[in-house]
Symmetry: C2
Protein backbone atom coordinates (compact mmCIF):
# COMPACT_ATOMS: atom_id res chain seq x y z
CA UNK A 1 0.00 0.00 0.00
CA UNK A 2 1.04 3.56 -0.74
CA UNK A 3 2.97 5.31 2.04
CA UNK A 4 1.46 8.66 2.95
CA UNK A 5 2.90 11.45 5.05
CA UNK A 6 1.51 14.69 6.38
CA UNK A 7 4.31 17.28 6.23
CA UNK A 8 3.96 20.41 8.37
CA UNK A 9 5.16 23.03 5.91
CA UNK A 10 5.73 26.62 6.95
CA UNK A 11 7.58 27.66 3.84
CA UNK A 12 10.75 28.14 5.86
CA UNK A 13 14.08 26.40 5.51
CA UNK A 14 13.55 23.58 8.03
CA UNK A 15 10.08 22.46 6.97
CA UNK A 16 11.07 22.63 3.30
CA UNK A 17 14.05 20.37 4.06
CA UNK A 18 11.54 18.00 5.72
CA UNK A 19 9.51 17.97 2.49
CA UNK A 20 12.67 17.04 0.62
CA UNK A 21 13.43 14.21 3.04
CA UNK A 22 9.85 12.83 3.00
CA UNK A 23 9.84 13.02 -0.81
CA UNK A 24 13.20 11.19 -0.99
CA UNK A 25 11.77 8.47 1.29
CA UNK A 26 8.97 7.85 -1.21
CA UNK A 27 5.95 9.17 0.68
CA UNK A 28 2.88 10.56 -1.05
CA UNK A 29 2.89 14.08 0.39
CA UNK A 30 0.05 15.85 2.19
CA UNK A 31 1.35 19.31 3.01
CA UNK A 32 -0.19 21.21 5.91
CA UNK A 33 0.41 24.92 6.46
CA UNK A 34 -0.89 26.98 9.37
CA UNK A 35 -2.17 30.48 8.96
CA UNK A 36 -2.21 31.80 12.53
CA UNK A 37 -1.86 35.49 11.97
CA UNK A 38 1.92 35.25 11.92
CA UNK A 39 3.58 38.41 10.75
CA UNK A 40 5.55 36.62 8.09
CA UNK A 41 2.55 35.88 5.85
CA UNK A 42 4.87 35.64 2.86
CA UNK A 43 5.80 32.27 4.39
CA UNK A 44 2.41 30.99 3.28
CA UNK A 45 3.14 31.99 -0.30
CA UNK A 46 6.51 30.26 0.00
CA UNK A 47 4.77 27.12 1.32
CA UNK A 48 2.50 27.08 -1.74
CA UNK A 49 5.50 27.26 -4.06
CA UNK A 50 7.27 24.47 -2.18
CA UNK A 51 4.16 22.21 -2.17
CA UNK A 52 3.84 22.75 -5.90
CA UNK A 53 7.54 22.07 -6.47
CA UNK A 54 7.17 18.69 -4.72
CA UNK A 55 3.84 17.89 -6.41
CA UNK A 56 2.10 17.37 -3.06
CA UNK A 57 -1.05 15.26 -3.32
CA UNK A 58 -2.83 17.93 -1.30
CA UNK A 59 -1.86 21.20 0.34
CA UNK A 60 -4.15 22.34 3.15
CA UNK A 61 -3.88 25.75 4.73
CA UNK A 62 -5.51 25.71 8.16
CA UNK A 63 -6.55 29.08 9.57
CA UNK A 64 -5.95 29.39 13.29
CA UNK A 65 -7.36 32.83 14.01
CA UNK A 66 -7.73 31.76 17.62
CA UNK A 67 -3.96 31.98 18.17
CA UNK A 68 -3.95 35.59 16.99
CA UNK A 69 -7.08 36.38 19.02
CA UNK A 70 -5.56 35.22 22.30
CA UNK A 71 -2.21 36.93 21.57
CA UNK A 72 0.80 36.28 23.76
CA UNK A 73 3.52 36.12 21.10
CA UNK A 74 5.59 38.62 19.14
CA UNK A 75 4.80 36.53 16.05
CA UNK A 76 1.03 37.01 16.31
CA UNK A 77 0.58 40.09 18.50
CA UNK A 78 1.61 43.40 16.88
CA UNK A 79 1.99 45.03 20.33
CA UNK A 80 5.04 42.85 21.16
CA UNK A 81 8.18 43.88 19.22
CA UNK A 82 10.24 41.23 17.38
CA UNK A 83 13.74 41.20 18.89
CA UNK A 84 16.70 41.94 16.64
CA UNK A 85 19.45 41.93 19.26
CA UNK A 86 20.56 38.35 18.80
CA UNK A 87 19.97 34.99 20.46
CA UNK A 88 19.74 34.20 24.16
CA UNK A 89 18.98 31.15 26.28
CA UNK A 90 15.61 32.36 27.56
CA UNK A 91 12.25 31.43 26.08
CA UNK A 92 11.95 34.04 23.32
CA UNK A 93 8.99 36.44 22.92
CA UNK A 94 8.56 34.87 19.49
CA UNK A 95 7.44 31.71 21.30
CA UNK A 96 3.84 31.00 20.25
CA UNK A 97 1.99 29.37 23.17
CA UNK A 98 1.68 25.59 22.74
CA UNK A 99 2.31 25.94 19.01
CA UNK A 100 3.78 22.54 18.22
CA UNK A 101 1.24 20.88 20.52
CA UNK A 102 -1.44 22.42 18.35
CA UNK A 103 0.31 21.81 15.03
CA UNK A 104 0.86 18.14 15.83
CA UNK A 105 -2.73 17.70 17.04
CA UNK A 106 -4.03 19.15 13.76
CA UNK A 107 -1.56 17.07 11.75
CA UNK A 108 -2.76 13.94 13.59
CA UNK A 109 -6.40 14.72 12.72
CA UNK A 110 -5.41 15.21 9.07
CA UNK A 111 -3.25 12.06 9.04
CA UNK A 112 -6.12 10.06 10.50
CA UNK A 113 -8.56 11.19 7.81
CA UNK A 114 -6.03 10.59 5.00
CA UNK A 115 -4.84 7.29 6.50
CA UNK A 116 -1.30 8.65 6.56
CA UNK A 117 1.22 6.69 8.62
CA UNK A 118 3.66 9.52 9.22
CA UNK A 119 3.82 13.17 10.25
CA UNK A 120 6.99 15.09 9.37
CA UNK A 121 7.79 18.15 11.45
CA UNK A 122 10.97 20.19 11.17
CA UNK A 123 11.58 20.81 14.87
CA UNK A 124 15.12 21.28 15.94
CA UNK A 125 16.40 20.86 19.46
CA UNK A 126 19.73 22.65 18.98
CA UNK A 127 18.99 25.95 17.35
CA UNK A 128 15.68 26.51 19.15
CA UNK A 129 16.57 25.33 22.62
CA UNK A 130 14.51 28.21 24.03
CA UNK A 131 11.23 26.71 22.80
CA UNK A 132 9.93 23.98 25.14
CA UNK A 133 7.86 22.41 22.36
CA UNK A 134 10.94 21.76 20.20
CA UNK A 135 12.57 19.41 22.73
CA UNK A 136 12.79 15.62 22.21
CA UNK A 137 10.99 15.03 25.55
CA UNK A 138 7.98 16.93 24.26
CA UNK A 139 7.94 15.07 20.94
CA UNK A 140 8.02 11.72 22.78
CA UNK A 141 5.09 12.69 25.01
CA UNK A 142 3.13 13.95 22.03
CA UNK A 143 3.82 10.74 20.12
CA UNK A 144 2.26 8.83 23.01
CA UNK A 145 -0.74 11.18 23.24
CA UNK A 146 -1.36 10.72 19.49
CA UNK A 147 -1.03 6.95 19.79
CA UNK A 148 -3.55 6.79 22.60
CA UNK A 149 -5.91 9.48 21.35
CA UNK A 150 -6.51 8.42 17.74
CA UNK A 151 -8.50 5.62 16.14
CA UNK A 152 -5.42 4.63 14.12
CA UNK A 153 -3.34 4.30 17.29
CA UNK A 154 -5.95 2.29 19.18
CA UNK A 155 -6.34 -0.03 16.19
CA UNK A 156 -2.59 -0.71 16.12
CA UNK A 157 -1.53 1.53 13.22
CA UNK A 158 -0.04 4.43 15.18
CA UNK A 159 0.79 7.59 13.29
CA UNK A 160 4.55 8.13 13.70
CA UNK A 161 6.02 11.59 14.24
CA UNK A 162 9.18 11.96 12.14
CA UNK A 163 11.62 14.66 13.25
CA UNK A 164 14.57 14.17 10.88
CA UNK A 165 16.12 17.54 11.82
CA UNK A 166 15.80 17.14 15.59
CA UNK A 167 19.51 16.78 16.37
CA UNK A 168 21.01 18.47 13.31
CA UNK A 169 22.75 21.82 13.39
CA UNK A 170 21.47 24.41 10.93
CA UNK A 171 24.58 23.76 8.81
CA UNK A 172 23.83 20.00 8.74
CA UNK A 173 20.23 20.69 7.75
CA UNK A 174 21.40 22.88 4.87
CA UNK A 175 24.03 20.37 3.74
CA UNK A 176 21.38 17.61 3.77
CA UNK A 177 18.98 19.81 1.83
CA UNK A 178 21.55 20.80 -0.79
CA UNK A 179 22.32 17.11 -1.40
CA UNK A 180 18.60 16.41 -1.91
CA UNK A 181 18.13 19.40 -4.22
CA UNK A 182 15.80 21.24 -1.81
CA UNK A 183 14.62 24.48 -3.48
CA UNK A 184 15.86 26.97 -0.86
CA UNK A 185 15.36 29.82 -3.32
CA UNK A 186 11.58 29.33 -2.82
CA UNK A 187 11.74 29.58 0.98
CA UNK A 188 11.66 32.44 3.45
CA UNK A 189 12.58 32.60 7.14
CA UNK A 190 12.52 36.26 8.20
CA UNK A 191 10.37 37.10 11.24
CA UNK A 192 9.81 40.63 9.91
CA UNK A 193 7.94 39.33 6.88
CA UNK A 194 9.08 41.91 4.34
CA UNK A 195 9.65 41.13 0.66
CA UNK A 196 13.39 40.95 1.33
CA UNK A 197 14.75 39.19 4.42
CA UNK A 198 15.94 41.68 7.07
CA UNK A 199 19.11 39.74 7.93
CA UNK A 200 19.04 40.79 11.61
CA UNK A 201 16.09 39.00 13.31
CA UNK A 202 16.79 35.78 15.25
CA UNK A 203 15.50 33.66 12.41
CA UNK A 204 17.59 35.41 9.70
CA UNK A 205 20.69 35.23 11.92
CA UNK A 206 20.29 31.47 12.37
CA UNK A 207 19.73 30.91 8.68
CA UNK A 208 22.69 33.02 7.55
CA UNK A 209 24.99 31.39 10.13
CA UNK A 210 23.81 27.97 8.90
CA UNK A 211 24.67 28.70 5.27
CA UNK A 212 28.02 30.21 6.32
CA UNK A 213 28.91 27.13 8.38
CA UNK A 214 27.78 24.84 5.55
CA UNK A 215 30.21 26.74 3.28
CA UNK A 216 27.33 27.76 1.06
CA UNK A 217 25.61 30.93 -0.08
CA UNK A 218 21.91 31.46 0.65
CA UNK A 219 20.08 31.93 -2.69
CA UNK A 220 17.60 34.46 -1.22
CA UNK A 221 18.35 38.21 -1.09
CA UNK A 222 18.97 40.12 2.19
CA UNK A 223 18.43 43.78 3.07
CA UNK A 224 21.92 44.03 4.63
CA UNK A 225 25.32 42.92 3.24
CA UNK A 226 26.23 39.35 4.29
CA UNK A 227 29.76 37.91 4.37
CA UNK A 228 29.33 34.65 2.44
CA UNK A 229 32.17 32.10 2.48
CA UNK A 230 34.71 32.63 -0.31
CA UNK A 231 34.24 29.07 -1.51
CA UNK A 232 30.42 29.38 -1.75
CA UNK A 233 28.77 29.48 -5.11
CA UNK B 1 -3.33 34.86 43.63
CA UNK B 2 -6.58 34.35 41.76
CA UNK B 3 -7.19 30.79 40.52
CA UNK B 4 -8.05 30.72 36.84
CA UNK B 5 -9.47 27.87 34.79
CA UNK B 6 -10.09 27.37 31.09
CA UNK B 7 -13.32 25.38 30.74
CA UNK B 8 -13.99 23.63 27.43
CA UNK B 9 -17.66 24.42 26.98
CA UNK B 10 -19.72 22.83 24.21
CA UNK B 11 -23.08 23.89 25.57
CA UNK B 12 -23.97 20.25 26.23
CA UNK B 13 -24.80 18.59 29.50
CA UNK B 14 -21.31 17.34 30.45
CA UNK B 15 -19.33 20.52 29.75
CA UNK B 16 -21.98 22.64 31.48
CA UNK B 17 -21.69 20.42 34.55
CA UNK B 18 -17.90 21.05 34.37
CA UNK B 19 -18.59 24.80 34.40
CA UNK B 20 -20.71 24.29 37.53
CA UNK B 21 -17.92 22.28 39.21
CA UNK B 22 -15.18 24.78 38.30
CA UNK B 23 -17.38 27.66 39.51
CA UNK B 24 -18.09 25.84 42.79
CA UNK B 25 -14.32 25.35 43.26
CA UNK B 26 -13.82 29.10 43.06
CA UNK B 27 -12.01 29.48 39.73
CA UNK B 28 -12.24 32.59 37.61
CA UNK B 29 -13.73 31.09 34.44
CA UNK B 30 -12.38 31.37 30.90
CA UNK B 31 -14.85 29.49 28.71
CA UNK B 32 -13.66 28.07 25.40
CA UNK B 33 -16.08 26.84 22.73
CA UNK B 34 -15.10 25.23 19.44
CA UNK B 35 -16.91 25.96 16.22
CA UNK B 36 -15.77 23.13 13.96
CA UNK B 37 -18.66 22.89 11.54
CA UNK B 38 -20.55 20.54 13.81
CA UNK B 39 -24.14 20.01 12.75
CA UNK B 40 -25.49 20.97 16.12
CA UNK B 41 -24.65 24.64 15.86
CA UNK B 42 -27.35 25.44 18.39
CA UNK B 43 -24.82 24.08 20.89
CA UNK B 44 -22.80 27.25 20.38
CA UNK B 45 -25.80 29.38 21.30
CA UNK B 46 -26.31 27.18 24.35
CA UNK B 47 -22.63 27.67 25.30
CA UNK B 48 -23.08 31.44 25.15
CA UNK B 49 -26.07 31.26 27.50
CA UNK B 50 -24.16 29.01 29.92
CA UNK B 51 -21.05 31.26 29.91
CA UNK B 52 -23.30 34.25 30.65
CA UNK B 53 -25.12 32.36 33.40
CA UNK B 54 -21.79 31.68 35.11
CA UNK B 55 -20.43 35.20 34.47
CA UNK B 56 -17.35 33.83 32.73
CA UNK B 57 -14.42 36.30 32.69
CA UNK B 58 -14.11 35.61 28.97
CA UNK B 59 -15.83 33.36 26.44
CA UNK B 60 -13.80 32.58 23.34
CA UNK B 61 -15.28 30.81 20.35
CA UNK B 62 -12.51 29.27 18.27
CA UNK B 63 -13.36 28.47 14.66
CA UNK B 64 -11.82 25.24 13.42
CA UNK B 65 -12.91 25.19 9.80
CA UNK B 66 -10.02 22.84 9.12
CA UNK B 67 -11.86 19.97 10.85
CA UNK B 68 -14.82 20.42 8.54
CA UNK B 69 -12.57 20.81 5.51
CA UNK B 70 -10.81 17.51 6.06
CA UNK B 71 -14.10 15.69 6.87
CA UNK B 72 -14.08 12.16 8.24
CA UNK B 73 -16.89 12.45 10.81
CA UNK B 74 -20.69 12.31 10.74
CA UNK B 75 -20.65 15.40 12.97
CA UNK B 76 -18.80 17.56 10.44
CA UNK B 77 -19.32 15.82 7.09
CA UNK B 78 -22.91 16.01 5.73
CA UNK B 79 -22.28 12.97 3.47
CA UNK B 80 -22.02 10.64 6.51
CA UNK B 81 -25.43 9.96 8.16
CA UNK B 82 -25.82 10.34 11.93
CA UNK B 83 -26.81 6.93 13.36
CA UNK B 84 -30.11 6.64 15.25
CA UNK B 85 -30.10 2.87 15.80
CA UNK B 86 -28.64 2.92 19.30
CA UNK B 87 -25.24 2.44 20.89
CA UNK B 88 -22.55 -0.11 20.04
CA UNK B 89 -19.01 -0.87 21.19
CA UNK B 90 -17.31 0.21 17.96
CA UNK B 91 -15.74 3.61 17.36
CA UNK B 92 -18.80 5.60 16.21
CA UNK B 93 -19.00 7.52 12.91
CA UNK B 94 -19.66 10.58 15.07
CA UNK B 95 -16.00 10.32 16.20
CA UNK B 96 -14.21 13.50 15.14
CA UNK B 97 -10.56 12.69 14.32
CA UNK B 98 -8.23 13.65 17.17
CA UNK B 99 -10.84 16.02 18.57
CA UNK B 100 -9.84 16.06 22.23
CA UNK B 101 -6.17 16.14 21.27
CA UNK B 102 -6.92 19.33 19.40
CA UNK B 103 -9.29 20.78 22.00
CA UNK B 104 -6.77 20.25 24.79
CA UNK B 105 -3.93 21.70 22.71
CA UNK B 106 -5.97 24.85 22.07
CA UNK B 107 -7.04 25.02 25.71
CA UNK B 108 -3.38 24.76 26.76
CA UNK B 109 -2.43 27.68 24.49
CA UNK B 110 -5.29 29.74 25.95
CA UNK B 111 -4.42 28.74 29.53
CA UNK B 112 -0.81 29.71 28.93
CA UNK B 113 -1.71 33.19 27.70
CA UNK B 114 -4.22 33.75 30.53
CA UNK B 115 -1.90 32.24 33.15
CA UNK B 116 -4.61 29.75 34.07
CA UNK B 117 -3.53 26.81 36.19
CA UNK B 118 -6.33 24.45 35.18
CA UNK B 119 -8.19 23.14 32.15
CA UNK B 120 -11.60 21.55 32.76
CA UNK B 121 -12.86 19.10 30.15
CA UNK B 122 -16.02 17.02 30.47
CA UNK B 123 -14.69 13.78 29.02
CA UNK B 124 -16.31 10.64 30.25
CA UNK B 125 -14.78 7.18 30.01
CA UNK B 126 -17.96 5.19 30.70
CA UNK B 127 -20.59 6.50 28.35
CA UNK B 128 -18.21 7.19 25.47
CA UNK B 129 -15.99 4.14 25.62
CA UNK B 130 -16.00 4.07 21.81
CA UNK B 131 -13.96 7.28 21.56
CA UNK B 132 -10.23 6.69 22.06
CA UNK B 133 -9.66 10.30 23.11
CA UNK B 134 -12.06 10.02 26.07
CA UNK B 135 -10.01 7.34 27.86
CA UNK B 136 -7.97 8.03 31.01
CA UNK B 137 -4.80 6.74 29.29
CA UNK B 138 -5.12 9.42 26.65
CA UNK B 139 -5.74 12.18 29.20
CA UNK B 140 -2.60 11.12 31.12
CA UNK B 141 -0.45 11.20 27.99
CA UNK B 142 -1.87 14.57 27.01
CA UNK B 143 -1.19 15.95 30.49
CA UNK B 144 2.44 14.99 30.06
CA UNK B 145 2.64 16.48 26.55
CA UNK B 146 1.21 19.77 27.87
CA UNK B 147 3.63 19.76 30.81
CA UNK B 148 6.61 19.26 28.53
CA UNK B 149 5.42 21.43 25.65
CA UNK B 150 4.45 24.67 27.40
CA UNK B 151 6.44 27.47 28.97
CA UNK B 152 4.32 27.15 32.14
CA UNK B 153 5.17 23.45 32.42
CA UNK B 154 8.89 23.95 31.83
CA UNK B 155 8.95 26.72 34.42
CA UNK B 156 7.37 24.45 37.04
CA UNK B 157 3.77 25.68 36.95
CA UNK B 158 2.20 22.90 34.89
CA UNK B 159 -1.33 23.43 33.61
CA UNK B 160 -3.44 20.63 35.14
CA UNK B 161 -6.16 18.89 33.13
CA UNK B 162 -9.23 18.41 35.35
CA UNK B 163 -11.64 15.68 34.27
CA UNK B 164 -14.20 15.62 37.11
CA UNK B 165 -16.68 13.54 35.08
CA UNK B 166 -14.18 10.93 33.87
CA UNK B 167 -15.48 8.00 35.91
CA UNK B 168 -19.06 9.16 36.55
CA UNK B 169 -22.11 7.57 34.95
CA UNK B 170 -24.46 9.97 33.16
CA UNK B 171 -26.84 9.65 36.13
CA UNK B 172 -24.06 10.60 38.56
CA UNK B 173 -23.13 13.60 36.42
CA UNK B 174 -26.74 14.78 36.42
CA UNK B 175 -27.17 14.24 40.18
CA UNK B 176 -23.95 16.24 40.78
CA UNK B 177 -25.15 19.00 38.48
CA UNK B 178 -28.61 19.20 40.07
CA UNK B 179 -26.97 19.59 43.52
CA UNK B 180 -24.81 22.46 42.16
CA UNK B 181 -27.77 24.16 40.47
CA UNK B 182 -26.39 23.62 36.95
CA UNK B 183 -28.78 25.27 34.43
CA UNK B 184 -29.61 22.20 32.31
CA UNK B 185 -32.54 24.05 30.74
CA UNK B 186 -29.93 26.16 28.86
CA UNK B 187 -28.10 23.14 27.42
CA UNK B 188 -28.57 21.00 24.34
CA UNK B 189 -27.11 17.60 23.43
CA UNK B 190 -28.89 16.41 20.26
CA UNK B 191 -26.64 15.37 17.34
CA UNK B 192 -29.37 16.33 14.86
CA UNK B 193 -29.18 19.99 15.86
CA UNK B 194 -32.87 20.89 15.45
CA UNK B 195 -34.66 23.41 17.68
CA UNK B 196 -36.17 20.53 19.64
CA UNK B 197 -34.04 17.52 20.63
CA UNK B 198 -34.82 14.45 18.46
CA UNK B 199 -34.78 12.00 21.37
CA UNK B 200 -33.42 9.14 19.22
CA UNK B 201 -29.77 9.94 18.34
CA UNK B 202 -27.00 8.39 20.47
CA UNK B 203 -26.49 11.62 22.36
CA UNK B 204 -30.20 12.12 23.18
CA UNK B 205 -30.51 8.46 24.23
CA UNK B 206 -27.61 8.81 26.68
CA UNK B 207 -28.97 12.03 28.10
CA UNK B 208 -32.53 10.74 28.56
CA UNK B 209 -31.29 7.50 30.14
CA UNK B 210 -29.12 9.58 32.50
CA UNK B 211 -32.03 11.70 33.73
CA UNK B 212 -34.20 8.58 34.05
CA UNK B 213 -31.55 6.80 36.15
CA UNK B 214 -31.03 9.93 38.25
CA UNK B 215 -34.78 9.87 38.98
CA UNK B 216 -35.13 13.29 37.39
CA UNK B 217 -36.90 14.90 34.48
CA UNK B 218 -34.89 16.65 31.75
CA UNK B 219 -36.05 20.30 31.58
CA UNK B 220 -35.56 20.51 27.78
CA UNK B 221 -38.34 19.47 25.34
CA UNK B 222 -38.09 16.37 23.06
CA UNK B 223 -39.71 15.64 19.69
CA UNK B 224 -40.84 12.19 20.87
CA UNK B 225 -42.70 11.19 24.07
CA UNK B 226 -40.30 10.23 26.90
CA UNK B 227 -41.18 8.05 29.90
CA UNK B 228 -39.90 10.16 32.82
CA UNK B 229 -39.74 8.58 36.31
CA UNK B 230 -42.97 9.00 38.30
CA UNK B 231 -41.05 10.64 41.15
CA UNK B 232 -39.38 13.22 38.88
CA UNK B 233 -40.42 16.83 39.05
Amino acid sequence: MEKRAVVILSGGLDSTTCMGIAAAEGYALYALTFDYGQRHRIEIEAAKRVAEHYRAREHRIARLDFLRAIGGSALTDPSIPVPTHGLSDEIPVTYVPARNLLFLALAAAYAEVKEAEAIFIGVNALDYSGYPDCRPAFIEAMQEAIRRGTKAGVEGRPIAIHTPLLHMSKAEIIRTGIKLGVPYHLTTSCYQGGDVACGVCDSCRLRIKGFQEAGARDPIPYAVPIAWPDSAR
